[in-house]
Amino acid sequence: MNDRVKRWLEDGTVDLFLGYKMIMGHPLPHCFVKEKIEEVNDLIIGPARYSLEKIATHIAAVKPDIKIGLLARDCNQRALNVLYIWNQLNPENVRTVNVNCCPSNLKEHGDCSYLEHEAAGSFKRQVGIDNNLQPENIEGYGQSQRLSRWMYEFQKCIKCYGCRNICPVCFCQECSLEHRELVGTGALPPEIPIFHLVRAVHMAGRCIDCGLCEDACPVDIPLRLLYQKVNEIVSDVFDYKTGTGDSQSPFNILGDTVTLEPKPIQLAKTAN
């Protein structure tokens, strides 16, 4: 890995490379450049995940033609796909070194294990939602209980905007969450559930299920679970798998016409 990055920097395949390096005992993202090529010896995969692709978009915003290399786990790869589709990065200017992801049943060794959430306490299990559950488990609760459990989770929100700030696919110049006509500003907790639902709706067809939002949430709201559910709907209804295809999601309202098109099986259902 290190030799390849060195070669890339030397022959100009990339102008800079985003990877990780131990700095003061912490595995931190680091930008490797040709001028300090000896640093590449310290390039590590790093156990902590940062959104390197988001840093890359910030660099590309300042200098659009720069060639960026970066370490990519599976989630980074999906995020990059979304950023290419939405024209935030040019795929011709990005090179990746693919690295190991989270361990799973299929893959025993993983360099990343950040998605394993710590077990919920007894109160949270009773009145809230355990972050380790799957969308189908939540549906087992019944409608009124589901609402009260989600409301318990949402009312903890301290409105730090961390979920939006850390999100690799949140790049809008103007954010609905700061729009006073849509969401009340100032008060704490924020207007619930609308604050979280506005974000959830925007994550439909956009969220790549990296779990960084949940990592960054100071009050452990099961955000990943919520976005998994909205994406499940996008996948069921529109047959759109976020982060894998090369087309924009069906929720693209830019342009003169709305081109939402359900997947064939849904069309057949409505015809009957």
């Binding site: 800079l16 912490h26 595995p27 940062y50 840093i55 910030h58 660099i59 720069i66 301290i158």
Partner: protein, 135 residues
């Protein structure tokens, strides 16, 4: 093109969350929580998340100002400190040392807090020392 990620500690309150500043071409572009920091474990509050905004704010005070005839005049540190020292001396001589109070802060280091209270007690001669975290 220069891109650096600089580890730092949040200066907003006394908690001391670890964070990373994303510096692009010498300008702090955004703030990220440090994932492996034992204090915040990858989380931040809204103030921490927006540190780069007040570093880059045009309202930020970058030079010492001395109020002369009701207006703030830009000056250098030597003069600002001299004016402050002279005024303190005047006030202490006229009204006694207990007319002065020292407010210290959770945002500065332990050592700076120590120095500040030492200055209040040994130099000015008052026990009027208080702190924003004395709830």
């Amino acid at each position: 093109m220069q891109c650096k990620l600089v580890p730092s500690i949040c200066s907003y309150c006394g908690t001391g969350c670890g964070l990373l500043f994303e510096v692009i071409d010498g300008k702090i572009n955004s703030t990220l929580p440090m994932k492996t920091h034992p204090v915040n474990e990858g989380k931040l509050c809204i103030k921490g998340w927006n540190l780069h905004e007040h570093i880059n704010s045009f309202m930020r005070l970058k030079h010492p100002l001395v109020k002369t005839f009701g207006r703030f005049i830009k000056t250098d540190w030597d003069e600002a400190l001299q004016v402050t020292a002279d005024r303190f001396k005047e006030i202490v001589a006229k009204h006694g040392p207990d007319s002065v109070g020292m407010l210290v802060s959770a945002k500065i280091t332990n050592e700076e807090n120590y120095l500040a209270q030492k200055f209040a007690r040994a130099v000015i001669g008052t026990n009027n020392v208080d702190h924003c975290a004395r709830l």
